[in-house]
């Protein structure tokens, strides 16, 4: 689960990570008032500069007008009006973009330097690790690609925590002076505290700015939480913003189906994530385009198959459906019965190509064939099934 910048900064503030003073607004009028609040809090005069920052679950907004500098309450309201209710497309959102329903109004500081600091899990070594680079800012991914050694990885021993030596090394790499090494160490330790306390999978501060008046500030903040651990953090569930999730994907996830919309016209219904990806692959290899990734889950019963069909067909671009089920414990004859009931109930009009394999496959195929549904075609081999689906979708 992803948090918005303003939510992440609230968590930061609680553990003493310095963040720019800011207030969240959901209407242009509110944004105007927030500007005044921030200005007064920071003892700013006429023309005090604030940022109005679109809140969305993706990075890259700075490059597409998602952060606007303003110098008055009226400007703030205008900027907010331009962002709120819009969908913002960045290089991390996909083509549809994400809706903006809140903006963060905060003090804009002039930055002398931009650093990068993140905490995540090194999956392979099964260790949390700190990522640090003196070359933070909007182009950090380019740095990663062209000068990977400019990003230093420091593992954290989970039983021990962040060591003094690790903090000192990062401060040295950041070329920090004066008070800053100590503040930076506090920031790293506080990040680790947030990471553990909330079961995060990612905490990223980019940039960690050094202002021209020599303050160290978390200018932007990204936090992603481990969905598997949400059961032990009921208080965090309230931070979920469902508007940032694809409506069909959200609906599917609520009933235990994993669905991702793609841009083709062949709907896919598969059991198992790996097989579902492989099914998408083979459709492409056969010259077609999948409309979705869909993993119906382990217990592919009638109800679940019906639900899955409803989700697939909610996408009106779908011209044909490819069902690819490997029956293990879930027998193919049960699946066939489920398919027949589900497609009848939903009065499915598009052709459905079914490839069943595994337990009781003969009986499953027999059921499909004897039902004599014109639009239900049973094909034994995966490659043939994919070709058939592509043919039907392009017909």
């Amino acid at each position: 689960m992803k948090l918005h910048e303003y939510q992440a900064k609230q968590l930061f503030d609680r553990v003493g990570i310095p963040v720019p003073f800011g207030v969240v607004a959901r209407t242009p009028e509110e944004a105007g008032r927030c500007y005044e609040t921030v200005r007064k809090q920071r003892l700013g005069g006429e023309g005090f500069v604030c940022n109005v920052k679109a809140q969305l679950h993706a990075g890259g907004r700075g490059k597409v007008g998602g952060v606007v500098a303003v110098r008055s309450a009226a400007d703030a309201a205008t900027a907010a009006a331009g962002l709120l209710g819009r969908r913002l497309v960045t290089k991390q959102t996909g083509a549809e973009g994400l809706p903006v329903s809140a903006v963060l109004v905060d003090e804009r500081s002039t930055l002398a330097r931009e650093l990068y600091l993140a905490l995540t899990i090194d999956r392979f070594h099964a260790q949390p690790m700190i990522l640090a680079s003196a070359r933070g800012g909007m182009d950090i991914e380019d740095v990663a690609a062209t000068a990977p050694s400019a990003i230093v990885r420091t593992p954290i021993e989970i039983a021990i925590g962040v060591s003094d030596a690790a903090c000192a090394e990062i401060a040295r790499q950041f070329q920090l002076t004066g008070e800053h090494p100590a503040i930076c160490a506090r920031v790293i330790r506080a990040m680790w505290e947030v990471f553990q306390a909330h079961d995060a999978s990612l905490i990223e501060i980019n940039p960690l700015g050094i202002t021209t008046d020599n303050r160290l500030l978390a200018v932007d903040a990204k936090v992603t939480l481990d969905d598997n651990a949400l059961f032990r953090h009921p208080e965090l569930a309230a931070l979920r913003d469902e508007s940032q999730e694809h409506p069909l994907e959200l609906k599917a996830s609520q009933i235990g189906i994993s669905y991702v919309g793609l841009d083709g016209n062949i709907g896919c219904l598969v059991n198992g994530a790996g097989l579902a990806m492989a099914t998408n692959d083979i459709i492409k290899l056969s010259g077609g385009n999948p409309a979705n990734f869909l993993d119906v889950g382990g217990g592919a019963n009638v109800e679940q198959v019906t639900n899955a069909f409803a989700i697939i067909l909610a996408d009106t671009r779908v011209k044909a459906v490819l069902v690819n089920i490997f029956g293990g414990i879930m027998r193919c004859d049960w699946i066939a019965e489920g398919l027949l009931k589900a497609t009848q109930q939903l009065e499915v009009k598009v052709p459905i190509v079914v490839r069943l394999q595994g337990t009781n496959v003969e009986e499953g195929r027999r059921l499909l064939t004897t039902a004599q549904r014109l639009n239900l075609i049973s094909v034994n081999e995966l490659a043939d099934a994919a070709r058939k689906a592509v043919e039907l979708a392009t017909a």
Partner: protein
């Protein structure tokens, strides 16, 4: 020979009284696995499928001399259940459970560091040595004893791969689903070494997926240490670039992670690439038994 499990494996089932635990206990017994006991706190003294249930792993191991465990314990209790198995010094711990918090797995991995304990999973189908021992939830009948070692990150795609191998007449030494979670008990790398040393295993099939660096690490290892023929399919070639947050993922992967990149590094390590998920069995057969072309599939 085979790896990790064979006729001498004595298995306890953690979470045996739950729905999944009881169901798969029955299936494993049917396959001939020696299920010697089960564990559910508070249910000690009862039986499931004629298998004695104990309150703790320690009691179960003491009474049954078990040397492996398979766990169906729900995610929120899985950490404690796994620690119990570690403390009882069981050398093989198979975790089927899905949805375990990542930091719990990090703590578990640190806990077994340097100990002779192998964890498979979590969120995996388990492992099977065909004809000898099944410690998992896969349909047993699709397997045949033979010489192909199979390692996979998937569930049903693994079954499909096994099915294809069996169809073309290639049996398996041991098949292992390593699981789909970010942090796993065992990686491809750890298990490739076991297959390389196993005299029964003639060749190894890897079924990978996009994301993470399992396949890249495997490629490095294969290049340096594996002499046996290795085949690989990586699912997700056509998946769109993930919608994401922040940069850390891209930075860690450092340009790795897509199916094309994984195929490229595997190919460079001398691995035979399987181009289509429908060609797993036939690709392996064509390379290993060039004199025996695959029967063309029934239409």
């Amino acid at each position: 020979m085979s790896i990790l499990v064979d006729k001498s494996t004595r298995v306890i089932v953690q979470g045996i009284t739950g729905q999944a635990g009881a169901f798969h206990t029955e299936k494993m017994l049917e396959y001939g696995t020696h299920i010697v006991g089960g564990v559910t706190p508070g249910k000690g003294g009862t039986q499931v499928q004629g298998v004695p249930v104990f309150n703790t792993v320690r009691d179960a191991v003491r009474a049954t001399r078990a040397n492996a465990t398979i766990s169906f314990v729900p995610a929120r209790f899985a950490y404690d259940a796994t620690l119990e198995a570690i403390e009882a010094a069981l050398p093989l711990i198979v975790i089927i459970t899905e949805g375990i918090p990542t930091l719990d797995m990090v703590r578990i991995r640190q806990r077994i560091e340097g100990q002779p304990i192998r964890i498979i999973g979590p969120n995996c189908p388990g492992l099977i040595t065909p004809g000898a021992c099944k410690v998992g939830i896969m349909p047993g009948y699709i397997h045949r004893p033979g010489s192909i070692g199979l390692l996979s990150r998937s569930g049903t795609l693994t079954y499909d791969a096994v099915y294809q191998l069996t169809q073309v007449g290639l049996g398996q030494s041991t098949c292992i689903g390593i699981g789909g979670d970010p942090v796993l008990g065992s990686s491809f790398v750890h298990l490739l070494d076991l297959f390389e040393r196993d005299p029964q295993t003639e060749a190894i099939v890897l079924i990978g997926e996009i994301g993470g660096t399992e396949e890249e690490e495997a490629a490095t290892f294969i290049n340096a240490r594996v002499k046996k023929p290795v085949f690989a399919f990586v699912a997700g070639k056509m998946a769109p670039k993930e919608k994401r947050m922040g940069h850390a993922g891209a930075i860690i992967a450092g340009g790795k992670g897509t199916a094309d990149e994984k195929f490229a590094v595997l190919r460079a390590a001398g691995v035979t690439i399987i181009e289509s998920p429908a060609l797993i069995g036939r690709t392996v057969l064509a390379r290993l038994r060039p004199a025996h072309p695959a029967p063309s599939p029934a239409r």
